[in-house]
């Protein structure tokens, strides 16, 4: 409203004092604007204690005259009517109100105003507006929804009608942040336009670098998938530490472990997170997924990335955020975050927890496997009553890589990748079969050197 276009705010529901108070919390100095004659209120809110008797036919000529007066007073270009539907509660005759709303709308059009009218809806997916008239007087219709979907609230915005131009169709999620107001997450507006480079960066683990044919690409998204305890957090720790050691800035979002836990883990693998953070090379952000909605998390992640300007971003784990969302919004979130990171030509490493201990995939993989550049799978391998760990590089875009499923161990210095599993099939699916029979001598040769 302050873009050098003065405005008139017609309030049908709240009193101007309430509106002023609410808007100040969003950082708009309404009172100041009123004094500078940039903003005017037309108060149509119900007056308590007023007794009104209807005796005969009437129109809303007074309201129109008041609006015109306010427009002249501040030389306005924009008019907001919030909420038009509320006027129906003040007057019982809907026929008259409909006629008068049409008159006001056409009056505003004649004055060359850009008018925003809000109307309430009874159901999220029912009639567009309560009295079935509000939408017909408008040129453009935008629907805001606050849908309850699987016990989660989710705000969406949809452009239903926009005369004289094309627009994106369907619902888009949005959130309201205290600093920025409404933040919309336009998904189909995301384009695959990021550049690609063949610069390699270290994964933080020499064995892993070797498996990937010399390290990850600088602007790639890497997905690490595995069951709980397979070493995903370790991979993110090594990835961030590797970045810091190479002089890069790293940002780590943790949604599963607390700061202290993460730092203790890192120390356990010989990595000094505390010093790294003190030197400003690393920032660790730990939050519970439940503290905010997914849309808010996305805004927060973007803001943190903008603020810290990292070369590497790690999210541990992406699938933890799955808990707080619905299938649809999670997919939108994953797409939004990956494209945002890719767009900045930053390396991103996400982890995803698979629900089953052996084999299996998670929703995260289904969503982002096609937009990630590399996928690393960590698995438990059950061999004769013993749980061992195995990993494989499933996909590595634009590079040759080791195709074997290799065993790895974790000790006080981190991850050590060993030899390929032999004579075993079905590790990825979780149905492990010993291919070459169960002769004792064959078992002995299970990890025979090549």
């Amino acid at each position: 409203m302050s873009n050098n276009q003065n405005g008139v705010f017609i309030t049908f529901e709240e009193t101007p004092a309430d509106v002023r108070k609410n808007l100040i919390s969003l950082g708009w100095p309404i009172q100041e604007w009123e004094e500078q004659r940039k903003w005017a209120f037309v108060d149509v809110s119900p007056q308590p204690g007023d007794e009104t008797i209807i005796a005969g036919d009437y129109d809303l000529g007074a309201l129109l005259a008041r609006i015109e007066n306010a427009i002249r007073k501040v030389n306005a270009q924009r008019v907001t009517m919030d909420t038009v539907s509320a006027i129906f509660s003040q007057f019982s005759d809907k026929r008259i109100i409909r006629r008068e709303l049409h008159r006001i709308a056409s009056g505003l059009k004649q004055l060359g105003m850009t008018a925003l009218m809000t109307a309430e809806r009874l159901e999220e997916y029912g009639d567009i507006a309560r009295y079935g008239v509000e939408e017909f007087v408008a040129d453009n219709v935008i629907i805001l929804r606050n849908v309850l979907e699987e016990e989660k609230r989710r705000r969406t915005i949809e452009i239903l009608k926009f005369r004289g131009t094309s627009h994106k169709k369907g619902e888009f999620p949005f959130t309201i942040s205290p600093s920025e107001g409404i933040v919309i997450i336009p998904l189909s507006a995301i384009e695959l336009k990021q550049k690609s480079s063949d610069l390699r960066i270290s994964s933080g683990n020499p064995d892993m670098d070797e498996m990937c044919g010399g390290g990850f690409f600088r602007d790639s998204i890497i997905l690490v998938s595995g069951a709980t305890g397979t070493g995903k957090t370790l991979m993110t720790t090594e990835f961030t530490a590797g970045g810091v050691n190479a002089g890069e800035r790293c940002l780590l979002f943790s949604y599963e472990e607390s700061r202290d836990q993460l730092f203790r883990n890192a120390t356990g693998w010989g990595i000094d997170y505390e010093t790294m953070e003190r030197e400003g090379k690393l920032r660790v952000i730990c939050t519970y997924p439940e503290v905010a909605s997914l849309e808010d998390h996305l805004i927060d992640i973007k803001a943190q990335i903008e603020a810290f300007q990292p070369n590497r971003v790690a999210i541990d784990s992406l699938s933890a955020l799955e808990r707080i969302s619905t299938f649809k919004s999670y997919r939108e979130f994953v797409l939004g975050i990956t494209s945002f990171i890719k767009d900045r030509e930053t390396a991103g490493l996400f982890t995803s927890t698979t629900p089953a201990l052996l084999g299996g995939t998670s929703i995260t993989e289904a969503h982002i496997s096609t937009i990630t550049d590399s996928i690393i799978i960590l698995r438990y391998v059950e061999i004769f009553g013993e749980m061992r760990r195995g990993l494989t590089v499933l996909k590595m875009r634009g590079s040759g890589h080791d195709k074997g499923i290799r065993e790895f161990v974790i000790d006080g210095h981190g991850m050590h990748i060993g030899k390929q599993f032999r004579n075993i099939a079905g590790i990825l699916s979780g149905n492990i079969i010993h291919v070459a029979g169960l002769d004792d001598d064959r078992i002995g040769g299970l990890f025979k050197d090549e």
């Binding site: 007794e51 209807i54 005796a55 036919d57 809303l60 007074a62 005259a65 007066n69 007057f91």
Partner: protein
């Protein structure tokens, strides 16, 4: 002295509805209130700020300022019974002199 009536009638320009309201009101006042009233007719098109101050929405609107309580009567006043009710002129038997 009996109740002194202070009435304000808000109208928008000269429309049939306005005319009806003004004539009806004058007639009611003459018949029921004789000289104990004060009537102001305000054209909102000329004085929009007055409408803003009184938060008038619909026209014609008749406001009974005095005697208390303040009351708004909306419409062209063609429903005479309701107008009288609104002005506290009916159906209280002790009304008038």
């Amino acid at each position: 002295m009996a109740d002194q009536y202070v009435l304000k009638l808000y109208i928008t320009g000269k429309t049939p509805r306005t005319e009806t309201a003004v004539t009806t009101l004058r007639k009611i006042c003459e018949e029921e209130l004789q000289n104990q009233y004060q009537l102001v007719v305000i054209d909102i098109l000329e004085h929009p700020q007055l409408a803003e101050d009184e938060k008038i929405l619909a026209t014609p609107t008749l406001i009974k300022v005095l005697p208390q309580p303040l009351r708004r009567i909306i419409g062209d006043l063609s429903n005479r019974e309701k107008v009288l009710l609104g002005l506290d002129l009916r159906p209280t038997p002790a009304e008038g002199k």
